[in-house]
C-alpha cells in the first residue's frame, strides 16, 4: 500500500504547488481555471513520481541507480510494476470498475427518461449526468480491450518476454487513476455539461468543471498514445524467431492496427481540447466568432480523432472475436490475409471519413458527397470481417462455451450497428436522423455490441490464463444471454423513438413517446442487473473456482502453451514458432510453438 | 579496436564534422533564399514549399539519421 499512499501524498502536494504557482503568477484564484490546469499537471507528475516512477526511472536522470521495489501477491498490482501481465490486469480491473460506475450513471439517466417530463433531475443536471456517462464509457471502450488484453496478450502471443518499453507501459497505466479522479471530481467545481464531444461555444462558456474534463482527457489521450506506441514497437521488434507477419495471431494484428490509430490521431483530440483551454484561459479566439474564429473548426479537429477512435474501440474487439471463433470452432481462421488487409484499410479509410458527423453543421456542402462515399467504402472491409467470422464458423465443430456464445451475439449486434450506420452516413437521411436517439441506438449497437461484448468475451476466454482458475460456465452463459436479450429490448425501441423525432441529450421529450421510453428504461434496469451475475461469477471464481490447466481450450496460440498464470518472464526459455496459429484439423500441420523447453500441462 | 562505425555514420571524426557543417550551410542558404522569395513575392506559398521540403529532408537525413532506422545504427 505504501506506494499508493506515497503517490497520493505527493500528488496532493503537486496539486497545491501547481495551483499556488498559478495563483501567484496570474490573476487566477486558487480554485480558478488556470489553477485547475496547473494543479492537475503538477499533481499528475507528483502522483506518478510518488507511485514509483521516481524510483524506477527518475533516479536515472540524476545519475542514481534506479531501485525496483519487489512485491508479492496482490501487492504487485498496487505499485509501479513494469510486468506487462500485471499492467494488463490492472487495466482490466480498472476499466471494469469504471464501466460499472458509468453503467450506474446510465441507470440514473434512464430513470429520468422513463417519463416525458422533468422528474429526477433539472435539465441542467441531466446534461451533466449524461456528459459524465458519455466520457467514462468512451474511455472504457478506448482503453478496455487495448489496455487490458493488448498489454496482457500481445507479448505472450508473439513470444516476447515483455513489451518494448515496460516503464512507459507502467507510466501509461498509472496516468489513468488521476484521470478518473479528475473527471469524477469535476462536480465539485461546477461539472461539465457539454457532452463527451465538448463542442464549443458551450464548452468555452460553461462551468469550471469543463477545464478538469479537458485536462483529464488530454492526459488520458497521452496515456493512450504511449500505449499505442508501445504495442506498435513491440509487434515490430519483439517477435520470437519464426513469428513472421503472416503467422501473427489475428488479435495481435487488430491491436497493431488500432495502436497505429491511437498513436497518431489521438493528438487531434488533445489539440482540440487544448484550443478550448486556450480560448478559455489565454484569451485566444479559435472558436469565438467575434474575434474571427469558428466553432466549425472544433468539429473538424475533434472528429478527425473521434471517428477513427471508434475503430480504436472496435478493431481490438474484432480481433478478440475472430480469435475466439477460430479456437472454438476448431477450424483455421477463414481468409486470414483478407482480414489483415481489412484491418489496415479500416484504419486507413476510417481516418478520412470524419465529416460524416458534420452533415448538419453547415460545413461546405460539396464535401458531403465525398464523405458519404468514403464512409460507405468502410463497409467493404467491415463486411470482410463478417465473412471471415461466418466462414470460420461454417461447418466448424462448435464448442459452445461462454466466449463463443458472446461471439455469436457480437456478430448479430455489430451487424445491426453497421447497417444503421449506413443510414446515418447517407447525408440525405442523416438530415433528419442526426442528433436523435437513432444515433444513440446506432452507436450503442456498435460500441456496446462491438467493443464491450468483445471485452466480456475476452474476459471469459482469458480468465483461466490470468487467474489460474476456471469461471463458472453456467453462470457465464446465463449472464451472456441475459445481457444480450435485455440489450436488444433496451436499444431496439430507441431506434424507433429516434425515428419519431426524440432528440438526444435532452432530459425531456414528446409526450407520445412516453410508453416506449418507459419500456426501454425498465429493460435497461434489468440489463444493468445482469452485471451482478458477471461480477459475482468472476470474483467467486477467481478465489474458489476449479484450478485451470495451462490450456483449457486446447488452443494453439502461444499464451496457452505456458502455465496459467504464466511465469514471470512468460516463457521458461526463449520460444520459437513453427506452424500457423490456427491450423486446427490441418493434417500434418506443425505446432505453432516449435519447442517447449519445459512442457507444462 | 574492432571496426565498428559509430552510430552517427561512417567516416572519420573530421569527415563527420565537415558533413555537419556542409549541411548547416546548405540549410542557412536555403533559409535565406526562402526569406528573400517570401519578402519579394505576393502569395509565395507554392514557391516556398520546395524549400520546406528540402530543409526537412536535409535535417531528417543528415541530422536525425533517419536511414539508421533500418539498420539499427551500428554495424
Amino acid at each position: 500500500m505504501w506506494p499508493l499512499i506515497r503517490g497520493t501524498l505527493s500528488g496532493i502536494v503537486g496539486y497545491m504547488v501547481g495551483a499556488l504557482i498559478a495563483t501567484l503568477t496570474t490573476t487566477s484564484t486558487f480554485s480558478g481555471e488556470f489553477a485547475l490546469v496547473l494543479g492537475f499537471v503538477f499533481g499528475l507528475l507528483g502522483w506518478l513520481f510518488g507511485i514509483g516512477m521516481w524510483n524506477a526511472w527518475g533516479r536515472e536522470w540524476v545519475g542514481l541507480t534506479p531501485k525496483t521495489e519487489k512485491a508479492e501477491g496482490w501487492r504487485r498490482y498496487l505499485r509501479f510494476n513494469t510486468d506487462h501481465k500485471v499492467i494488463g490486469a490492472q487495466y482490466l480491473v480498472t476499466m471494469l470498475i469504471v464501466f460499472l460506475l458509468a453503467g450506474l450513471v446510465a441507470m440514473a439517466m434512464r430513470a429520468e427518461l422513463a417519463s416525458p417530463g422533468q422528474n429526477l433531475f433539472t435539465a441542467d443536471v441531466y446534461n451533466k449526468v449524461m456528459s459524465m456517462h458519455g466520457i467514462l464509457m468512451i474511455a472504457v471502450a478506448v482503453a478496455g480491450i487495448l489496455g487490458a488484453f493488448g498489454n496482457y496478450l500481445v507479448p505472450l502471443m508473439i513470444g516476447a518476454d515483455d513489451m518494448a518499453f515496460p516503464r512507459i507501459n507502467a507510466l501509461g497505466y498509472w496516468m489513468v487513476p488521476p484521470v478518473a479522479i479528475a473527471l469524477l471530481a469535476a462536480p465539485l467545481v461546477g461539472s461539465f455539461d457539454a457532452g463527451w464531444t465538448a463542442y464549443p461555444p458551450l464548452s468555452v462558456l460553461n462551468g469550471d468543471g469543463q477545464v478538469l474534463f479537458n485536462v483529464a482527457v488530454i492526459a488520458f489521450g497521452l496515456s493512450s498514445i504511449l500505449g499505442g506506441l508501445n504495442i506498435v514497437a513491440t509487434v515490430i521488434t519483439m517477435r520470437a524467431p519464426g513469428m513472421t507477419w503472416s503467422k501473427l495471431p489475428i488479435f495481435v494484428w487488430a491491436a497493431f492496427a488500432a495502436s497505429i490509430l491511437s498513436l497518431t490521431v489521438t493528438q487531434f483530440f488533445a489539440a482540440s481540447l487544448i484550443m478550448i483551454l486556450l480560448d478559455r484561459i489565454a484569451g485566444t479566439t479559435w472558436f469565438g466568432a467575434p474575434g474571427g474564429g469558428t466553432a466549425l473548426l472544433y468539429e473538424h479537429v475533434f472528429w478527425f480523432y473521434s471517428h477513427p477512435a471508434v475503430y480504436i474501440m472496435v478493431l481490438p474487439g474484432m480481433g478478440v472475436i475472430l480469435e475466439i471463433i477460430s479456437h472454438f470452432s476448431r477450424k483455421p481462421l477463414f481468409a486470414y490475409k483478407a482480414v489483415v488487409v481489412s484491418f489496415l484499410s479500416i484504419a486507413g479509410i476510417g481516418s478520412v471519413v470524419w465529416a460524416h458527423h458534420m452533415f448538419t453543421s453547415g460545413m461546405a456542402q460539396n464535401l458531403e458527397g465525398p464523405f458519404m462515399a468514403l464512409t460507405e467504402a468502410v463497409s467493404i472491409p467491415t463486411g470482410v470481417i463478417f465473412l471471415a467470422a461466418v466462414g470460420t464458423l461454417w461447418r466448424g465443430k462448435l464448442w459452445f462455451q461462454t466466449p463463443l456464445l458472446l461471439a455469436f451475439f457480437w456478430i448479430f449486434q455489430f451487424l445491426i450497428g453497421g447497417i444503421t450506420g449506413v443510414f446515418l452516413a447517407d447525408f440525405v437521411t442523416d438530415l433528419s436522423l442526426h442528433d436523435t436517439y437513432f444515433v444513440v441506438a446506432h452507436f450503442h449497437y456498435t460500441i456496446v455490441g462491438g467493443s464491450i461484448f468483445a471485452l466480456m468475451a475476452g474476459t471469459f476466454y482469458w480468465f483461466p490464463k490470468v487467474t489460474g482458475r476456471m469461471y463458472n460456465e453456467k453462470l457465464g452463459k446465463i449472464f451472456a444471454t441475459w445481457f444480450f436479450v435485455f440489450f436488444q429490448l433496451t436499444f431496439i425501441p430507441l431506434f424507433w423513438v429516434g425515428l419519431n423525432g426524440m432528440n438526444r441529450r435532452v432530459a425531456t421529450y414528446q409526450d407520445n413517446l412516453g410508453g416506449v421510453n418507459r419500456f426501454a428504461s425498465m429493460m435497461a434496469m434489468i440489463m444493468g442487473l445482469s452485471f451482478v451475475l458477471f461480477v459475482v461469477n468472476l470474483l467467486w471464481s477467481a478465489k474458489f473456482g476449479p484450478v485451470a490447466p495451462a490450456n483449457p481450450w486446447n488452443a494453439r496460440t502461444l499464451e496457452w502453451q505456458v502455465s496459467s498464470p504464466p511465469p514471470e518472464h512468460n516463457f521458461p526459455s526463449p520460444p520459437s514458432v513453427d506452424g500457423g496459429p490456427y491450423d486446427y484439423g490441418v493434417v500434418g500441420a506443425p505446432t505453432h510453438l516449435r519447442e517447449v523447453a519445459d512442457p507444462v500441462g | 579496436m574492432t571496426a565498428v562505425t559509430p552510430a552517427t555514420g561512417p567516416g572519420t571524426y573530421n569527415d563527420r564534422v565537415r558533413l555537419g557543417w556542409i549541411t548547416a550551410a546548405l540549410l542557412a542558404v536555403l533559409t535565406l533564399i526562402e526569406y528573400a522569395v517570401a519578402i519579394n513575392v505576393e502569395n509565395p506559398l507554392i514557391l516556398l514549399l520546395p524549400f520546406v521540403l528540402a530543409k526537412g529532408a536535409l535535417i531528417m537525413d543528415f541530422f536525425m539519421h533517419i536511414r539508421k532506422l533500418k539498420t539499427g545504427g551500428d554495424h
Partner: protein, 190 residues
C-alpha cells in the same frame, strides 16, 4: 521500419535495444507530427495565410538562424560523443543549451511586441501565440533534456559505448528544429 519477414532475433544485445529505442523515438515523432499538424492546419482554416503588417520579420529570421545554429552545435555534440571526444561533447552541449535559451529569450521579446500589435484575441494572434507557444514548450523540454545529459555526461559516462541517451536527446532537439522549419513559413512567410 523493419520490412524483413524474419523478426529480429532474440537475445538482448545493446544493438537490439538500440533499434527498439530508435523505433520508439521515431514513433513518438510521428505522433507529435500530428499534434503540430493539427495546429498548423487550424491556422490555415481560420486565417489562411494572412499575416499582420506589424510582424517583426527581422526578429523571426534571427530566431530561425539561432535555432539552426543550435542544430549544428547539437550535431557536433553528438558526433563528439560518438567519437569519445568528451570535451567536445560538453562544449557543444553547453553551446546548444545557450543557443536554445537565446531562442526562448527572443520569443519572449517577440511576444512582448506581439501582445501590442496582434494580441491573442485576434485571429492571427490566436494562431501565432498557440503555435509559437507550443513550439517554445517543446524547446523548453528539449533544454531540460540537454541539461540532463550534460549533467550525466560530465565524467565522460556516455561516449561511443553508451551513446544512445545522447543521440536520443539530440534527435529530439533536431525534431523540434524540424517543426520550426514548417512553423516559420506557416506563420511568417506564406
Amino acid at each position: 521500419m523493419t520490412t524483413s519477414a524474419e523478426p529480429i532475433q532474440h537475445g538482448a544485445g545493446p544493438s537490439r535495444q538500440r533499434r527498439i529505442n530508435q523505433l520508439g523515438l521515431w514513433l513518438f515523432f510521428a505522433s507529435e507530427t500530428f499534434l503540430f499538424g493539427a495546429f498548423i492546419s487550424s491556422r490555415f482554416i481560420t486565417s489562411q495565410t494572412s499575416t499582420p503588417e506589424d510582424l517583426n520579420q527581422a526578429l523571426a529570421l534571427a530566431l530561425t538562424i539561432v535555432l539552426l545554429l543550435s542544430s549544428i552545435s547539437a550535431y557536433l555534440a553528438e558526433t563528439a560523443n560518438a567519437h569519445d571526444d568528451h570535451r567536445g561533447f560538453r562544449i557543444y552541449t553547453v553551446a546548444t543549451i545557450t543557443l536554445g535559451a537565446l531562442f526562448l529569450g527572443g520569443v519572449a521579446l517577440e511576444w512582448k511586441e506581439a501582445l501590442e500589435y496582434f494580441p491573442p484575441g485576434t485571429i492571427y494572434g490566436t494562431a501565432f501565440f498557440s503555435l509559437v507557444g507550443l513550439h517554445a514548450f517543446h524547446v523548453l523540454t528539449g533544454l531540460i533534456a540537454l541539461a540532463v545529459i550534460l549533467f550525466l555526461g560530465k565524467e565522460g559516462r556516455f561516449g561511443s559505448k553508451d551513446s544512445w541517451p545522447v543521440e536520443g536527446v539530440i534527435k529530439y532537439w533536431h525534431f523540434v528544429d524540424l517543426a520550426w522549419v514548417i512553423i516559420y513559413p506557416t506563420l511568417y512567410l506564406f
